[in-house]
């Protein structure tokens, strides 16, 4: 129990007296800050992290271009935040659970989600694990311990607390990490999640990507305090703020957080200070709410460049290897995309499966009525008609990009 200090005159506190420092190790030129020590990281693992960052960047560039060409209906980039997401993922055990918001494809790349797996989801084809039900980027992988993304913001945060509590009871020695933006941290779900985690001593890591914007809303209009980190105090929770563009610092901080979570059942809040370099999504145009100058200033803090310089300095990487990798990546991504685009959509039945464990009689009746209707007008429903009768040819392209606007 803490002792209470009584005062006998009104004495208000605002929290301004606390300033949470930012943990950083690596400078932009690839050298360490004086007195800073790199985390233990062998060449293999360092390169695995770096490659994942690069793959994520290339994937994002290619897919954004595909969206612009009208081949894909929607896309969201991780650009600028690769170090935060991938550095954190690398510090975990591969079987720890990840509950992400939507911009964390880097975690999946690190864990080995294949290009095919990405593309199948993006194109919502018959091989998409989510059966073409959700918009692009709503990935999920049971094998890789990556919970399928849900669009309503922050809903995954209290779920992470619950999942991790189950892990604790099961005695697995695993934890859950949940990623979210500083915008989503305004939702009631965030507060509920932290409170329950601290009361019930849950092995969960709350990882906030404070990237400056929630769509057009700058963080100055999102909260009045010193970021998200001080909120941990209200719940008596461990907290650290880290330079989110410094992959070594993120890695080290998450390693320590994992120890607190798994070994001591202490929930931890990590606030990674970073910047959403890209638009919010393919439907967004950031020039309407922020300056080019501001973006340029952050471009100079590019997390990938920073790590690359560190790797080159150590003799683990070179510009030639980089170019080789980038070229082969671009090729592979393109080839996989072409394959995924050509695949047929999920069958009509997928409209009514998975609503319940078994298709109910009412749903079966609705599906039968729909089939009868489509047989009457096969040309009007190319996708559904094809799965009823594979010989029916779809007129026009396979995937029409929608005119979806706004956020995910």
């Amino acid at each position: 129990m803490t002792t209470t200090h009584d005062v006998y005159a009104p004495s208000f506190m605002t929290g301004d007296e606390f300033h949470i420092p930012t943990f950083r190790l690596l400078q932009q030129d690839g050298t360490l800050f004086e007195g800073a020590e790199a985390p233990e990281l062998d060449e293999d693992k360092a390169l695995k992290i770096y490659r994942a960052m690069l793959i994520t960047r290339v994937l994002d560039e290619r897919m954004m271009a595909a969206q612009r060409q009208g081949r894909l209906s929607f896309y969201m980039q991780c650009t600028g935040e690769e170090a935060a997401v991938i550095g954190a993922t690398a510090a975990l055990d591969d079987a720890d659970m990840i509950m992400a918001q939507y911009r964390e494809q880097g975690a999946l790349v690190y864990r080995g989600f294949s290009y095919d797996e990405f593309m199948n989801q993006l194109f919502g084809n018959e091989l998409d694990y989510g059966k073409g039900r959700q918009m692009p980027i709503h990935y999920g992988s049971r094998k890789l311990h990556y919970m399928t993304i849900s669009s309503p913001l922050a809903t995954q945060i209290p779920q992470a607390t619950g999942y991790a509590y189950g892990q604790k009871l099961a005695g697995e020695g695993h934890c859950t990490i949940t990623f979210f933006g500083e915008g989503a941290a305004s939702e009631g779900d965030f507060h509920a999640a932290l409170n329950m985690a601290s009361v019930h001593k849950v092995p969960v890591i709350f990882f906030c990507r404070n990237n400056g914007y929630a769509i057009s809303t700058p963080s100055s209009e999102q909260f009045a305090a010193d970021g998200i980190a001080p909120r941990a105090f209200g719940y008596r929770m461990h907290v650290i703020r880290v330079d989110g563009n410094d992959v070594l610092a993120v890695y080290r901080a998450t390693q320590e957080a994992r120890k607190l979570a798994v070994e001591m059942n202490q929930p931890v809040l990590i606030e990674a200070m970073t910047y959403r370099l890209a638009a919010h999504s393919s439907s967004d145009d950031p020039s309407g709410y922020r300056s080019r100058k501001e973006e340029e200033a952050w471009r100079e803090k590019d997390p990938i460049l920073r790590m690359q310089r560190w790797l080159i300095e150590r003799g683990w990487w070179s510009e030639e290897r980089e170019k080789e990798l980038q070229d082969s990546l671009r090729r592979e991504v393109l080839e996989t995309m072409k394959r995924a685009e050509k695949r047929p959509p999920p069958p009509l039945e997928s409209l009514v499966t998975d609503v319940y464990a078994d298709v109910t009689p009412a749903l079966q009746r609705q599906l039968d009525a729909l089939k009868t209707h489509i047989r009457k007008h096969p040309d009007a429903y190319p996708k559904g008609a094809r799965s009823l009768d594979p010989d029916v040819k779809a007129p026009g392209g396979e995937h029409k990009a929608g005119d979806e606007q706004g956020g995910a």
Partner: protein, 325 residues
């Protein structure tokens, strides 16, 4: 008369309401400088200042709770929920608070000034969480008014009525039509009545009923049906709570048949409520079972959206079935 799309008409209505009454405030996620992700609130911050048009933190529960408090104080909040799919975090504030403020306080307090605007509906490749039509959840809550416009003219007139209505109003905007629906809209201030349906076309064989984005779909179905010699009467409900029973009853007494359509899933959808009322009041006049053309009883899909949606062909088939019964 100027031509406007639905977003321009909504923006124009907000502009008029804010100019006329400085108690009117617009707020929500991204509505400030950016003017909302669909740009319905463009330039309002520039014109009326940050005190009256502003971004809120990202918390729907907070937005509506805050709006309830503001309205109770006598302000006239117009709160935007970015997508109707994201209204559910605010569900408690809306159904337990907004709807019951006046009733539970014996009219000591009320939040009649509140209007909640939100884009709803599918047909935009939005998948699961950008396509839902949740109006029926709110139609089950006494104390709310629920309004759905079908075109720019209606959007302006009904929104101005909603803002000035003495009761809290949920205003569902068909986002598929935001830019697609263009029409003549008077520049001046005008209001359209809440709670009154509009007969958009007279006919004698069958009544076809819908609201919002479905009206455009109905129009196409009716064209097909009329080519086959079926005379359709078309009604736009406009307001689903309260809804205009008398206009629908009058029409069904004449035609003897009713086809109702909405995008939301069938079970518990508002068509069920209408069908029950009409069979109570028109039982002996009905010449065929009331037909419902709706979404399936499933969440909203992405890839197979076209198959899922109640489109003009499905409505056309329902009209034929109704007439041929």
């Amino acid at each position: 008369m100027p031509r406007m799309n639905m977003l321009q008409a909504i923006n124009n209505a907000l502009d008029i309401a804010m100019a006329e009454d400085d108690k009117v405030l617009c707020f929500g996620e991204d509505v400030g400088v950016f003017g909302g992700v669909f740009r319905a609130t463009s330039h309002l911050q520039e014109k009326y200042g940050r005190d009256r048009c502003f971004n809120t933190p990202l918390v729907e529960q907070g937005i509506i709770g805050f709006a309830n408090g503001l309205a109770a104080q006598g302000s006239v909040p117009v709160a935007e929920i970015q997508f109707a799919d994201y209204i559910f975090p605010a569900f408690d504030q809306i159904v337990n608070e907004t709807a019951k403020f006046r009733y539970r306080s014996g009219d000591l307090f009320n939040v009649g000034g509140l209007t909640i605007r939100t884009p709803y509906g599918g047909g935009i490749s939005g998948g699961h969480y950008h396509s839902q039509s949740p109006e029926a959840y709110f139609a089950h809550t006494p104390g709310l008014k629920v309004v759905v416009p079908r075109n720019p003219y209606q959007a302006k007139g009904l929104l101005l009525s909603a803002i000035r209505d003495p009761d809290p109003v949920l205003f569902f905007e068909p986002k598929r039509l935001y830019r697609a629906a263009v029409g003549e809209v008077p520049e001046e201030d005008y209001q359209l009545p809440i709670g009154e349906a509009e007969v958009t076309k007279e006919g004698s064989d069958v009544t076809v009923l819908g609201w919002g984005a479905q009206m455009e779909v109905i129009e196409r179905a009716v064209e097909l049906a009329e080519k086959e010699g079926v005379s359709c009467e078309v009604i736009d409900l406009r307001s689903i709570l309260p809804w205009d029973e008398d206009t629908v009853v009058e029409s069904v007494l004449k035609t003897g048949r009713l086809v109702i359509t909405h995008e939301a899933p069938r079970t518990g959808g508002f068509a069920g409520e209408i069908a029950a009322t009409i069979q109570e009041r028109c039982f002996l006049y009905l010449e065929s079972p009331i037909e419902r053309v709706t979404g399936l009883d499933t969440p909203f899909p992405l890839t197979l959206e076209k198959e899922y949606l109640p489109d003009h062909l499905k409505i056309f088939e329902a009209i034929k079935a109704s007439v041929a019964f």
